[in-house]
């Protein structure tokens, strides 16, 4: 039997509810319905009075979670889509994120954000917001790329005392499968070598890890061995692992699915340029989505975000220096 990425998210929540009575779930349609993506399927029945359908009030949902966290609970809030967290923006960045610094009282909430593009979802059901939230002091931003990480990082995230933005990629939900969920895993804050190599380093996260690995595989026949680093969490960001990789390869490409201005890839390039300049044999490169809203039509969408082809192109360019 195999486990999908979303199975892992469901299983993690099940385990959390079972083992930690401080945990409860709050979100739109997560009760009887099991959530828009079925990430909470069956949990309302299994855990009466621990899983709540909320009104369509993202601001109040996060406000409620922060209050509950002050009282010692560990709410997990599901945004129906990451895009709708724009309504909860104030409570996330100003209420939750500032609380520990201001008062000394930490806010252990976890906000699940179904993120990223899928064909036909359009400008308001496809967004990636990790680069927005990571800018704010006080937030931890997780971006699991594998089934095991989807499971373990949700559990580890809920265990953290600070507010966690958990970005789960919708494209991976059912497409990504694993045999089972391995028990050993890296701690939050540590990146992973998703594919070892020696000629160039691709730093990616979430769904883009898989596109990067595909691109690397395509360059293999030409003799190129590309290393892919999976960030796992974009804040904190594991610079050590990236620098160690760049030290081996001398070349860096950062790939993200977000909009091109700023964001995770700019942070990665900046960190490496500042701290590993001497390691670089070529200008570090970025590849992001295009600078427009995410288009609805699958043909447009497919060339809006990075693809194995465009990653290969960027790598060939990088390897030419």
């Amino acid at each position: 039997m195999s486990v999908t990425y979303i199975d892992a998210i469901l299983a993690a929540q099940e385990k959390l509810l079972r083992e930690d009575d401080r945990v409860f779930l709050y979100g739109q349609d997560i009760g009887v319905f099991g959530g828009a993506f079925k990430a909470t399927k069956g949990l309302a029945a299994a855990f009466p009075n621990r899983v709540f359908d909320s009104p369509i009030s993202e601001d109040a949902m996060i406000g409620l979670a922060v209050g509950a966290a002050i009282e010692g609970l560990r709410p997990i809030v599901e945004m129906q889509f990451a895009d709708f967290s724009s309504i909860a923006f104030n409570q996330i960045v100003n209420q939750a994120a500032t609380h520990y610094y201001r008062t000394g009282v930490p806010i252990p909430i976890t906000v699940r954000m179904p993120s990223g593009g899928t064909p036909g979802s359009g400008p308001f059901h496809s967004q990636n917001m990790e680069g927005i939230y990571a800018q704010y002091p006080g937030l931890i931003v997780l971006t699991p790329a594998t089934v095991a990480d989807a499971f373990h990082m949700l559990i580890d995230g809920v265990a953290l005392d600070d507010p966690v933005i958990y970005c789960e990629h919708k494209f991976l939900y059912r497409w990504l499968k694993a045999k089972s969920i391995n028990n050993d895993h890296l701690p939050i804050g540590q990146a992973r070598i998703a594919r070892p190599g020696k000629h160039a380093t691709v730093v990616a996260y979430s769904a883009m890890v898989h596109e990067a690995v595909r691109a690397a595989d395509r360059l293999q026949p030409d003799g190129w061995e590309i290393e892919v680093v999976d960030l796992r969490s974009v804040k904190p960001l594991d610079l050590d692992t990236i620098l160690a990789s760049v030290a081996r390869t001398g070349r860096l490409l950062a790939v993200g699915e977000s909009f091109p201005w700023g964001g995770v890839t700019a942070e990665v390039i900046s960190l490496v340029s500042e701290h590993g300049f001497h390691l670089l044999d070529a200008p570090p490169q970025r590849l992001n989505s295009r600078d427009t809203p995410i288009p609805y039509h699958p043909k447009l969408w497919a060339s809006h975000r990075p693809t194995p082809e465009s990653i290969c192109d960027a790598l060939r360019h990088l390897l030419r220096f």
Binding site: F33, S54, P55, G120, G122, H297
Partner: protein, 355 residues
């Protein structure tokens, strides 16, 4: 919780109370209105049935959200508005209102099928389509966000001295009433005294969430007073009732009576989208008064009142089915957007300087 339709006057203290003629009385004098509204309902139903089949056949990428069961409300509103003068910002269940307000079938089929010739050129899909410069804003997904936008269009018309005789209207569901955007915008239209008609289609569910997890008052119209809006509560399954309430609400807004809120009671007769089988809707809801299909309710009423004949209805059905077929066929053979020719820019300004 079973709602009884309530006299609107109870909730409309800020508007001079006017005794409405009973729906059936008034409607007989409004043959044209009812015929026209009904045609929009029928065309919308036929079009949406087609969209549903296309979706199930895998011909549509992305979601399909239908208005089945809400056609009376939506068509009555759309028919009361004047294209070219008014602003109408439809929401996800407003195919009938769009049709009544004059949307072409091709705008719909092209958008759903991703034709580059559609108003959204493949950049945005399904119910998001609009023609803002023709008074039909293109909605974003975030619920409640369109109300303030319509308010802004009216506000601008006032500043330009072009507000006389103009109405703006938009629809939301019961779920959207829980958004901060809904509140801020309704409060603003009250303060600015804009001629906006906000229609709340309370179809008892927001996706899967029932009313009792969405709000804690009896009838959402109880909120009108707190915003200084005129208030109307109507049986959304009854075309005649919808027609007379919408016309009256629109008329008052148009004639300077200030913003109006209409709450229509009904049931969503489909899933949230075509991917959803709505297993969570209890049979009790389906079987009660508001579980009626508004088209089934309208036909005998219209026939009995001599507004239409059964033959006419059949003829319309045939004609609309053919029209829909043609619009689908045309959209299907049109080009889809080409990423290599796409103008990948989100701003209209062309800066001379490198960015």
């Amino acid at each position: 919780m079973r709602l009884q339709p309530r006299p609107a006057s109870l909730y409309a203290p800020s508007v001079p109370t006017l005794d409405l003629p009973a729906a059936s009385e008034k409607s007989v004098t409004d043959r044209d209105f009812l015929r026209s509204a009904f045609q929009s309902m029928l065309l919308a139903r036929i079009l949406e049935n087609k969209l549903s089949s296309l979706y199930k056949a895998g011909k549509i990428v992305g979601g399909v959200y239908l208005g089945r069961g809400q056609e009376s409300v939506s068509a009555a509103l759309g028919t009361a508005l004047i294209r070219g003068t008014d602003v109408f910002s439809p929401l996800i269940r407003d195919q009938a209102g769009r049709t009544a307000f004059g949307e072409s079938l091709l705008d719909c089929t092209r958008t759903y099928l991703g034709s580059v010739l559609g108003p959204m050129r493949g950049r945005d899909g399904n119910v998001h389509r609009g023609r803002p410069l023709e008074g039909v804003p293109a909605m974003i997904s975030h619920l409640g966000a369109q109300i303030a936008l319509v308010a802004g269009m009216l506000f601008a018309k006032r500043l330009k001295g072009q507000l006389q005789g103009v109405v703006g209207a938009t629809c939301v569901g019961d779920g959207a009433t829980s958004t901060g955007a809904f509140h801020e915008a309704l409060n603003l239209i009250g303060v600015e005294k804009l001629p906006l008609v906000i229609v709340v289609a309370n179809n008892q569910f927001a996706y899967s969430t029932p009313n009792n997890r969405q709000f804690a008052c009896g009838d959402l119209i109880e909120r009108a007073r707190g915003y200084g809006l005129g208030g109307w509560s109507v049986d959304g399954t009854d075309l005649f009732a919808c027609a007379s309430v919408m016309r009256e609400a629109v008329r008052r807004a148009r004639e300077g009576g200030g913003p109006q809120m209409v709450v229509a009671h009904l049931l969503r007769l489909v899933g949230h989208g075509e991917h959803d089988d709505a297993f969570y809707v209890p049979d009790a809801c389906r079987n009660d008064h508001y579980g009626r299909d508004c088209i089934d309710v309208a036909i005998p009423q219209l026939v009995a009142n001599g507004h239409v004949t059964t033959d006419e209805i059949h003829a319309w059905q045939h004609q609309f089915a053919a029209d829909v077929q043609r619009a689908v066929a045309q959209a299907q053979q049109e080009a889809t957007p080409d990423p290599y020719r796409e103008d990948w820019t989100a701003i209209s300004t062309r800066f001379p300087i490198s960015q």
